[in-house]
């Protein structure tokens, strides 16, 4: 079987398209590269969506912790403590068992022009359930970073904004939020990298890979178990992750440049890897 044939068979196997049966005997290098790459679609999916939703929630959490009254600060502090203090691995297990217990129900929302429906059983599937956990987890870690940055926003900037007569909303949009983002960005890039890394945990903790639709590491593990040779499949998945990491570093570097545009002699993007390494 040619490599092009393999590609058309397995490129979207992780999403359920193409050949259903996984290669069992005479596994070729090409098959491993294509299938593991196919699985990486899931890693990107989880990472991107969790980062986007997590960013919004983390900003809200950080503001609740710094500016909110006691009513808001307490729950936000506890949320961050619980999700940062316990292993993500256990969080996945716990969430899965919790979601399984939820009674099966269907919900429908009539939006006028269309009807949205949702089922609680979706939560037991990785695409939603694991995403929820990942979203909450990254929110907590990012909120910690944003809180630190928010506390470091120079007082003079805020006072100057007040002197200009800016109202709360304008002050937030033009002064506080951009400064917070600029200060938090190097650490936040790290958080993004390690969030993508932790997507590899999903199919090894609670959430089953339905019909063998798994992520990159899931397929790598499958190959390593079937060929008894870990020296091919795992390096492939490692290379994929290094490429993904480089992409993230590049993207966050661009944003960092934009955030620091107005600063003379803006410090070069410095990724302090040691701040957040894993969960």
């Amino acid at each position: 079987m040619s490599c092009a044939q393999t590609f058309s068979d397995y490129a979207f196997r992780s999403l359920g398209y193409g050949e259903r049966l996984l290669p069992k005997t005479d596994i070729t290098f090409c098959e491993q590269v294509v299938l593991i790459g196919s699985g990486m679609i899931w890693n990107v999916y989880f990472g991107v969506l969790a980062i986007i939703f997590g960013f919004i929630f983390a900003t809200a959490l950080a503001f609740a912790r710094v500016n909110g009254g006691a009513v808001l600060r307490w729950p936000a502090d506890i949320f961050v403590f619980v999700f940062r203090g316990s292993p993500l691995f256990i969080q996945f297990f716990f969430a899965y068992e919790l979601f399984v217990q939820i009674p099966r129900m269907g919900f429908e929302w009539d939006l006028g022009f269309m009807v949205l429906s949702a089922q609680t059983s979706w939560l037991t599937k990785a695409w939603l359930g694991a995403l929820v956990v990942l979203f909450l987890n990254t929110s907590a870690y990012s909120a910690e970073i944003f809180t630190g940055a928010l506390r470091a926003v120079p007082k003079g900037d805020v006072e100057a904004a007040n002197a200009f007569g800016m109202n709360g909303r304008t002050k937030f949009r033009r002064i506080v939020f951009p400064t917070m983002l600029r200060l938090a960005w190097p650490s936040y890039s790290n958080e993004a990298i390690f969030l993508f890394h932790s997507t590899a945990l999903i199919f090894f903790s609670g959430f089953p890979a339905w019909r063998r639709k798994g992520d990159g590491l899931y397929y790598a593990n499958y190959f390593a178990e079937n060929t008894f040779n870990p020296f091919v499949a795992y390096p492939i998945v490692a290379v994929y992750f290094i490429l993904l990491t480089l992409l993230i570093v590049g993207f966050f570097g661009l944003v960092n440049k934009r955030l620091n545009k107005h600063i003379p002699d803006a410090p070069k993007v410095k990724f302090r890897f040691a701040t957040v390494i894993g969960r």
Binding site: T25, D26, I27, F81, V82, G85, S86, P87, L88, F89, I90, Q91, F93, F94, E97, L98, V100, Q101, H197, S198, A200, L201, F204, L217, A220, N221, A224, N226, T227, F228, N229, P230, F231, Y234, V237, A238, F241, I242, T245, F273, A274, T275, I277, G278, R279
Partner: protein, 284 residues
Amino acid sequence: MFEICADPRSLEGLTWLSCYLTTPKHSAMYFSILTVLGMLLAVVPPILMLGFAGALARRSKIAPIRWFGLGYTSIVRGVPDIVFFLFFPIALDQAVEYIRHKIKCSDVLEPIYQGNDFVVCQAAKMPLGTSDQFYHEAWGFSLAVITFAIVFGAFTANTLHGALNAVPKGQLETARAFGMSERQTFWRVHMPQMWVYALPGLSNLWMILIKATPLLFLLGVKDIVYWAKELGSMKTQVYAYAHPDWRVWYFLALLVFYLFLTWISQRVFDRIFARASRGMAVAT
């Protein structure tokens, strides 16, 4: 455990629970907490050693050693740790068996990799098929320790490298001005001061290490995650203690256990920081 527990089916309420929580299997679960703690203590020395070796390698004057140090620390950081946790135990296991096969069964000419199989002679198995169950578990545990050491050694090397660079140059220059040799400068001035700069990073790593211990489960060690899954799953009437699916409660207990562990560690570290930065010009 207790005599009242002789007939579990007749029990109810709290007595049932107290009997249930003291079954031999539950004792095994409590014992596995010791496995986790023992693992945490066992990996620290190798991690620090590898971390030091890595940090010194990155400062080496010999270019290939420097490259090796840089490569080691960057690759481990660029790839999810779980990949290493799946990779190293098999890889190390195969490497050891491969070498033993070459030494002990040099008369066997068949290739080791036969298609999709990894075949070594019986005498090369590690541990031997005939040895005690204890050795199998000990071997698995050692592989886990080595894997943790390799992964976290890279992170530590990075932290220590940064800390060695953070010591003010003036301190080292002063040491030299006093006539200390390079070695004396390193051991008497550079190293002792380095720790203060390394502590925040090291404490962070310790937290991450704690949170990585449940991955032992993936390495086939019977740790608390294994027991939580095992004990929590539904038990039918066939079992002495029948109960529905309680895994969610078991994992909740694990969650609380880990929260407690990280919380305690944080408090201890806060004290160490306060102590270590006495007399140091460190802005905190």
